[in-house]
Assembly symmetry: C2
Homo-oligomer: 795 residues x 2
């Protein structure tokens, strides 16, 4: 299994290999001054033996969009860990340059702090604007589409040639979806799906290639508009989270590498630590704009990303969230013609539940728990089906053109299913006022409309709200049952297509439908008048969504904020908790499942409970390539160019004065830093030992961040190879270390809590014996039969 070396990207198509593992061979024993030595590989290094023969022709931080031919079938296995994902580094490199910069007076820090707040405000404003843009465009385009289709159906019903209407509808859907799918598949595959798994990974510390680029944002926004207009069973809320994150990453860096524009602002924030903090704020602002849930947004960010809770950071995230929902609210209120009203805090609003009328009583609590169980089971079925589908897609549908075709097929089938269900439905309801936007008369009597059609002839958001609030009797049970069934399979098929789309709204819609059905059945069987179907629709929606995504605290708060009151807080929590417990019994949550299928080295909250028997010695990577404090340029270039061991962090060692045999750890230097040093030729003549080149500043490192050039692009002459490089000033002089005896949970806790990328394992004399990186920890997972170890592969 360890030598399965395939390439699968988020969208099922490989676009680039950006970043290999962070392992590094060991330097030990006696020393010649300029060449790194290799220890005989220990038992754990045999695990990495397969690395030498796999696809490794691109550098770790190299930008290359080389197209490569793909096989027809890609074997895949979920028990793999990909080596292609790099880690973010939340640990500030406290080298001399950094310390010099930090030794400023108090005022300078206040300026930095104010800038942070300004950036958060900008993140909120832009996220809100993007959300408005999506909302308004979807409303216009979808309205146009429904009007055309409805007009044709109305016209053709009389003529009896309804199949033309079906064809028109299906063709319209497929066409729109095709465009949406084309841009995603061919321009930016990472924009596919909701983006939530990708953002989860980013916040977890995994560098997902291209995930926070401007291009991704543009494709994401256009893609989601086209998917929703194309009538797929998708929502526009999930992608907002990804959009917010991209906006945050862009604004906080004060430049766009894609547009080659550098505004020369916010340069201080050009490092992983700061960028990740802002991305948290962006994700929160996205949730906030999507659901009108600023607190839920903060909790989402924290639940998915935070390793170290910091009050100031949280408060800034909250500020960005508030600004985001406020911006959206103001603009949509103006758009809807009541500028002072502020009644649209999110892309979806669940509408006002009248809590006077719709309180709940203690007797209903067991019923809510039962609904949670149902939601958990249905969610597990959804996830299991989607799992098989995704495996199928990874294996067979990895060509972009196939992906586009599949998306078009789903678009057409969605229209066809809708049409057949509307056609065969006998649920006619009297028209009252203008509650229904596109009432479809079809075969109903005059003054009546087809109730099934309202569910399909609407954006999913509006259908959800109708299910929550329409008075009892609006839908007959048969309609709801059929709709649930059809939509369940459609949504399941749709998630994972190469289109930008969220799964929140389809889940809510499925749940609302069966929840309402549940409520109606209750009032039929028991005659309980309090069984308001709207309330049960809400609980069903919570149960279904909880069963699928398994989010906990944040989802409760999002649901509470989206309903606009806190009365239902307790039952929603009960339902979500039950759904999670029941669902977890069968399969993982949808996002976690997809993360695992992509073989991402994702670090969970805690090390597996039974892993105390493992020590750092057993989990670390070894041998490690170490460097001297003053190292020969040629050696460094050779190490960096060595494609068989693509390391990103190198411990810096030095012999101890009174024990010549011992090489004590002195610091840690990153590949990216070495590359900047080589590029600026910070060499010392071997003879003179004096600095011949200008002094580097932190700015030089920041300018290169985050796309450091590959080593191949740096030319080092033969003379220069003989020079020395003094790393003292640039290395991190106090990297975190653990002793060999530390248990895995202990190592894990340190690594996770501080957001590290490299953790040096030392022996009793402070000699480097190994290096722990993300994949060394992510490899151990709790399986059904206890602890299991994933294989590493260059997928």
């Amino acid at each position: 299994m360890a030598n399965v070396a395939t390439k699968v990207s988020w969208s099922g198509r490989e676009r680039e290999v950006e970043g290999q593992g962070e392992t590094t061979p060991l330097l030990n024993g006696t020393a010649s001054p300029s060449k790194p030595r290799q220890l005989t590989p220990s038992s754990s290094s045999t695990r990495l033996g397969h690395l030498s023969d796999v696809y490794l022709d691109e550098d770790s931080e190299l930008e290359l969009d080389a197209p490569c031919s793909l096989p027809h079938e890609i074997p895949h296995n979920e028990k793999l860990l990909s080596l292609k994902y790099e880690s973010l580094d939340y640990d500030n490199c406290e080298n001399q340059l950094f310390l010099e910069e930090e030794r400023r007076n108090h005022t300078a820090f206040r300026t930095v702090e104010i800038r942070r707040w300004v950036i958060c405000a900008l993140i909120g404003i832009f996220t809100g604007l993007v959300a408005c843009f999506i909302d308004i465009l979807v409303e216009c385009l979808a309205g146009l589409k429904y009007k055309v289709v409805k007009g044709n159906i109305d016209r053709l019903t009389e003529k009896g040639s309804l199949s033309f209407a079906l064809l028109l509808w299906a063709a319209l859907n497929a066409g729109v979806v095709m465009v949406g799918s084309l841009i995603v598949a061919f321009i930016e595959p990472v924009a596919a799906g909701s983006g939530i798994p990708q953002i989860k990974c980013y916040l977890n510390g995994v560098k997902v290639p291209h995930v926070v680029r401007l291009k991704t944002l543009v494709i994401k926004v256009c893609g989601v508009i086209l998917s929703v207009v194309g009538g797929l069973a998708v929502g526009k809320e999930g992608p907002m989270i990804h959009s917010g994150a991209v906006i945050a990453a862009g604004i906080s860096q004060g430049r766009s590498t894609s547009l080659k524009r550098d505004f020369k602002i916010f340069e201080y924030f050009r490092r992983d630590t700061e960028k990740r903090d802002f991305v948290s704020a962006g994700a929160a602002a996205g949730v906030s704009a999507a659901f009108g849930a600023p607190v839920g947004g903060v909790l989402f960010s924290l639940e998915e990303g935070a390793s170290f809770w910091n009050q100031f950071l949280t408060w800034r995230i909250f500020f960005a969230s508030m600004i985001s929902t406020f911006t959206l609210n103001s603009i949509l209120s103006i758009y809807h013609g009541n500028p002072w009203d502020l009644s649209s805090p999110g892309l979806i609003n669940f509408g006002r539940f009248d809590s006077e009328k719709m309180g709940y009583t203690i007797q209903e609590i067991p019923i809510f728990i039962l609904m949670g169980v149902v939601g958990g089971i249905l969610g597990a079925v959804f996830n299991a089906l989607n799992y098989w589908l995704t495996m199928f897609r990874i294996r067979y549908i990895h060509r972009p053109c196939l992906q586009v075709l599949e998306a078009m097929l789903v678009g057409a089938v969605t229209a066809a299913v809708g049409f057949v269900m509307i056609y065969s439905s006998q649920d006619c309801q009297p028209l009252q006022g203008n509650r229904v936007t596109y009432p479809l008369q079809l075969f109903c009597a005059d003054g009546e409309y087809n109730s099934m059609a309202t569910a399909f002839f609407n954006t999913p958001e509006k259908s959800v709200v109708s299910l929550f609030h329409d008075p009892p009797g609006t839908y007959n049970p048969m309609t709801l049952g059929m709709f649930t069934l059809a939509y369940f399979f459609l949504a399941c098929w749709t998630y994972g297509l190469t289109v930008s789309a969220g799964v929140f709204i389809p889940s809510l819609l499925i749940g609302a439908a069966w929840g309402r059905l549940f409520g109606i059945s209750l009032s039929y069987t028991s005659g309980w008048i309090w069984a308001d179907p709207g309330k049960y629709a809400l609980m069903g929606a919570a149960a279904q969504l909880g069963g699928i995504v398994r989010m906990t605290l944040s989802l409760t708060v999002i649901m509470m904020e989206a309903t606009g009151n806190v009365t239902y807080g307790f039952p929603i929590m009960l339902v979500l908790m039950t759904a999670k417990i029941v669902g977890d019994y069968f399969v993982e949550g949808l996002y976690d499942m997809h993360i695992q299928l992509q073989s991402v080295p994702f670090l969970h909250w805690e090390a597996p409970v039974t892993s105390h028997s493992l020590t750092a010695r057993e989990v670390m990577s070894t041998p490690v390539t170490c460097l001297r404090r003053v190292e020969k340029v040629g050696t460094i270039v050779d190490i960096l160019s060595d494609t068989s061991s693509n390391h990103n962090g190198f411990p810096v060692v030095e012999s101890v004065p009174d024990a010549k045999q011992t090489l004590g750890l002195r610091g840690l230097i990153l590949r990216s830093q070495l590359i900047v040093l080589l590029k600026h030729k910070v060499f010392v003549e071997r003879t003179s030992l004096s600095l011949v080149h200008r002094r580097l500043k932190l700015k030089d490192f920041r300018d290169a961040y985050p796309r450091f050039p590959p080593i191949q692009s740096i030319h080092v002459s033969q003379d220069e190879r003989e020079c020395m490089m003094d790393l003292t000033e640039f290395m991190n002089p106090s990297p975190y270390t653990v002793p060999q005896e530390a248990s895995l949970p202990r190592v894990f806790k340190l690594f996770r809590a501080l957001g590290l990328r490299h953790l040096v394992v030392v022996d009793n004399q402070n000699q480097v014996v190994g290096l722990v990186t993300r994949k060394d920890l992510a490899r151990y997972r709790m399986g059904k039969e206890g602890l299991e170890e994933l294989s590493l592969a260059q997928t």
Copy 2:
């Protein structure tokens, strides 16, 4: 300043010295096998030089309630750090015993997990019950009191001898307050105040003596009932947080040391890590019961306590919060006679704001910000006044009898002020329905009541709700102004008295009063009809509370949940943020101020921004007392008995094989562990080197937790002194270390994120050079003129 050695406890009276600093002298250089050696004190050790001559006659974890005579005036200074507070240890000691226990199968861990949930449910239920108890008793007793006073006033108004009524009222108040103050001052001084600063400290990792004891809970509950009934300007909400924390600590340990009952359950949780997690849940449950704000409770716990956010923990905390508010809601609903209604989620409910009528518009936002500014300034004034008052109290009112007298005085004055204000008020309002519980006619016409009297003749909770919801015109501006002024000073005087009482409600009340006044003025001056006084009362309340306590995210959510809708989320956030920024410009928040006045080594979120120039070498304590892996019993007893250096953690060292001069770090052992070892006489005969006593188990350590016996109580014979003790099995073999060169922020981050108690500083060869403990980090603070260093003192 360093030799100021005074003793000040939370209540201004010293009851015990529990726990000294965690510093330890250094072992270095060549070694004799059984005695620790001292390095010549380095520059930083001179800072600790004053320690030898201060009051140190009690052991670190010793239980002794020795009464001691107190001087008449205690000099005090806020730039001190007390050495009497121990630290909690969030770092699991992963010794061999622990690892053996953890090497169980998966099922055992599931059982532990289920137990955790059961405990959280129990915490929720009991916290809810305690809240009900307080609420019902306060309602009954206060009702009785108001009835008696009102009866007398009504009767005596006719006779014209109202001074008797005043006397009766004042006497009643003073009497009740006296009882409440007596029990606090003489039985458990730590139960004074709201308990929030103490819980903040506990969650931060400071062990505040007696803070989570059963006795404290009993005194707290009785005290708060008596304070509220005694008519003081206090609330019953703050103390709920403390109560919840005590309940959590008690339940999670499955025993009560005070009652000498051990239920032999939950033994696994008898360590700081687990206990602190449950205390977080208890505090959250307390907030939840107090304000009906489960999410706010979770956020409060996280904002004040969490160092490492863990999803599972958060979800459990949320569960406890939900159960707590649900329990309270069910029981109060039954008590109020509508069992299925569930309309009392908290001790205080702000009542339903009709958001249809009371939405806000964009034009109001600058007004809200202005209110935030006012709140920030008034909050700063409040805090500054309270600061001087507290300093005065620490210096002069440190005898319990004086404290009781002061409390009685405040009780009587509160009644007198109320009486005078009611007497002089001309604000008569027509009686409508039974909106007013105790309408006082006084000099008003028949069918009218005195409006000022409603504000004083009510528990503060009810007054707040009246100010929020009474229709415009109920209060005239003069009444509100006078009331604000009087209540402001009363509340300020009251906070810090030796009674159990919260500051939340008085703050809200002050704010609601001036907020309403503000709203009325607005509608007078501008004629804006939308200036609903209730809405402005709410914003004023938020501003005032924010200006005083400076809580951020959690307070926003608590206010949102207490109002029951999310419409006001954005303005409340704006108001709170403005109040915080403005307030912080002048003085600290009330809780932080009191924490600082008590010289607690509290760790803030981040190290001071300008502290990058300091390194571990400069901040660490040195010399350190080290132990050998196999150490002579006599040596250990001597070290532990040494009252001049009351250390709690000892690095364990061993000489390195190929460098005899070097003593490498091997582990860390705690005083408490050594004491258990000595107690169980886990000695090895010097001759045989075989174990002669039974093997110790983790249970032995857990049974002794948390009140480990003092070293004086353990008898070690002269023969036994010659035995050896093998620490290998019991020490933590992989303590966290930092190199000497690490900067203070780096050390701080590691220490804070992992919740450490001891952090070993090592040199390049892994030799111990110092130890960083909480006080070494808490000592550096950001002052007005940059970084300042606090002095350490045995206060």
